[in-house]
């Protein structure tokens, strides 16, 4: 039997960006997979060494354009921890509310795009309909739909408003999610294409440093929001499913949307109670991070995101490194696609929620 080398991507519509997979095939079966990334490399870490912190802040949203708030939060948190700034309850609640809305928006886009990968077009429109409400709300408060640049060192750029928009959205969201579930979860075609496909067991997941929803869908209760100082006063239960297949990853994201909506509702309650926006803002022009090393991390929609900053006491970082969840998911394709069929390759890689700007940095 002769082997065939197939080039998938980099401009394939279902690779969610520009991911190139070099597949070796035996008939329809994949023998090996080699991911080739770097088409979107912008040199985020190199740029950090040339820019001051405030110059760098608007850039970090672009690391993952679907979850920009998380990366802003990480950079702001690094500076805040270095200067030991305690955020007021209102600022904390604003941040949690926006992070969770961002997570919902990101998961909604994933649901639409994943179903599109499988050939179902209508869920895409339904998911985007709800995502649009969130993006319009972001535009109202920050002036931007996606690259918000809303968090600043020590607080937020301006006070939040239009809370009734969020309230109305959170009211309709559970029903909308029920609608998706009616449409997708028990659909026989969907089940056949995802049940038992791309099974990721606990050990492999650990070995490949998979975090976030993908890990929790493999039966590990590891959510970095537990233990995060922002989420200290919020009640939620990490979504854990045992199966570890593509279907479980879908279901886990659906359940996480519901869970995030609960956290957002709690944040909303705090915002109604705490009207006083107290901020200890740092003058960004004279900002020099004290000498030392700083590690911060947060649970982003695509797994653990973390930042490392080494400062020599200068106005620019000596070294800045990002860890993003998708980079490790791409590396996992090497293993998880081995032995799968070619027509499942798209479904499996889609289910891992890979986003390429985050991989290439």
């Amino acid at each position: 039997m002769s082997k065939l080398k197939l080039n998938l991507g980099p401009q394939h519509p279902s690779t969610h960006g520009v991911l190139r997979l070099i597949l070796e095939l035996d008939g329809e079966k994949i023998i090996s997979c080699e991911p080739d990334v770097g088409y979107l490399h912008r040199g985020m870490e190199k740029m950090a060494e040339k820019l001051t912190y405030i110059q760098y802040l608007p850039l970090v949203d672009r690391i993952d354009y679907l979850a920009g708030f998380f990366y802003s939060e990480l950079l702001c948190r690094t500076v805040e921890k270095a200067f030991e700034i305690e955020l007021s309850p209102r600022v904390k609640a604003i941040r949690v509310l926006l992070l969770e809305l961002n997570r919902i928006a990101s998961h909604l886009l994933w649901i639409g795009a994943f179903l599109m990968d499988l050939g179902a077009v209508s869920p895409f429109f339904y998911a985007f309909r709800e995502r649009e409400i969130i993006l319009q709300y972001f535009e109202k408060i920050s002036g931007q739909r996606m690259m918000n640049n809303y968090f600043v060192f020590g607080g937020v750029r301006r006070d939040i408003g239009y809370l009734e928009d969020v309230e109305n959205f959170l009211k309709i969201l559970p029903d909308k999610v029920n609608d998706y579930e009616k449409l997708i979860t028990e659909n026989p075609i969907f089940l056949q294409r995802t049940k038992g496909k791309g099974v990721l067991d606990k050990k492999t997941a650990f070995n490949f440093a998979i975090t976030g929803v993908n890990l929790r869908a493999s039966g590990v209760s590891l959510d970095f929001r537990k233990g995060d100082y922002l989420y200290k006063d919020f009640e939620f239960t990490p979504v854990v499913l045992e199966e570890g297949d593509s279907w479980a990853r879908y279901k886990a994201r659906i359940m996480e949307i519901r869970e995030s909506a609960k956290i957002a509702a709690q944040a909303l309650e705090i915002l109604k109670r705490e009207n006083n926006l107290e901020q200890t803002l740092i003058n960004p022009l004279t900002l020099k991070l004290p000498e030392g090393e700083y590690f911060q991390e947060i649970e982003a929609p695509r797994g653990l995101a973390s930042i490392y900053v080494k400062s020599t006491g200068d106005s620019k970082p000596y070294r800045l490194k990002w860890r993003t969840g998708s980079y490790y998911s791409v590396n996992l394709l090497r293993k998880i696609l081995k032995g799968a069929y070619l027509n499942d390759a798209i479904a499996i890689s889609g289910s891992l929620d890979i986003i390429l700007p985050e991989v290439d940095k």
Partner: protein
Amino acid sequence: MNWSEFKNIFNDCELQGEKIVIHSNLLKTIEFVKNNYRFEILKEIIAVDNGDSTTELTYKLFSPEDSEEVLISINVQNEAESISSIFESAIADEKEIFDLFGIRFNGNPELKRLYMPEDWKGHPLKKDYIENDERLKWNE
């Protein structure tokens, strides 16, 4: 993890802040920590150019059972041992470090350019990197 027990087995190490700095036996140390203290996830490998032709590699390990983290750090010249036989995620981390810092990891099967083109000269995150590639001239 138990620091005094660790110190008894590996004499060649010291505690600097929150980091354990080792001078040799990288592979053995990581393997020992993984097997004996259940540090099952390698979160990331952080490379920092010290500016004196050495590079500091920091291995950030995490134990999901105890929610505990450990940082193991080593200074290397241009070569290091690959830990891809212990953690497969290290293949990706080491590949990135090779691309940006030019450190050869002995035993890593995937050591080639990742972000930069294959014919790119130099390693961009090194402190002695000279930015005069003619492909950047259009920017001036």
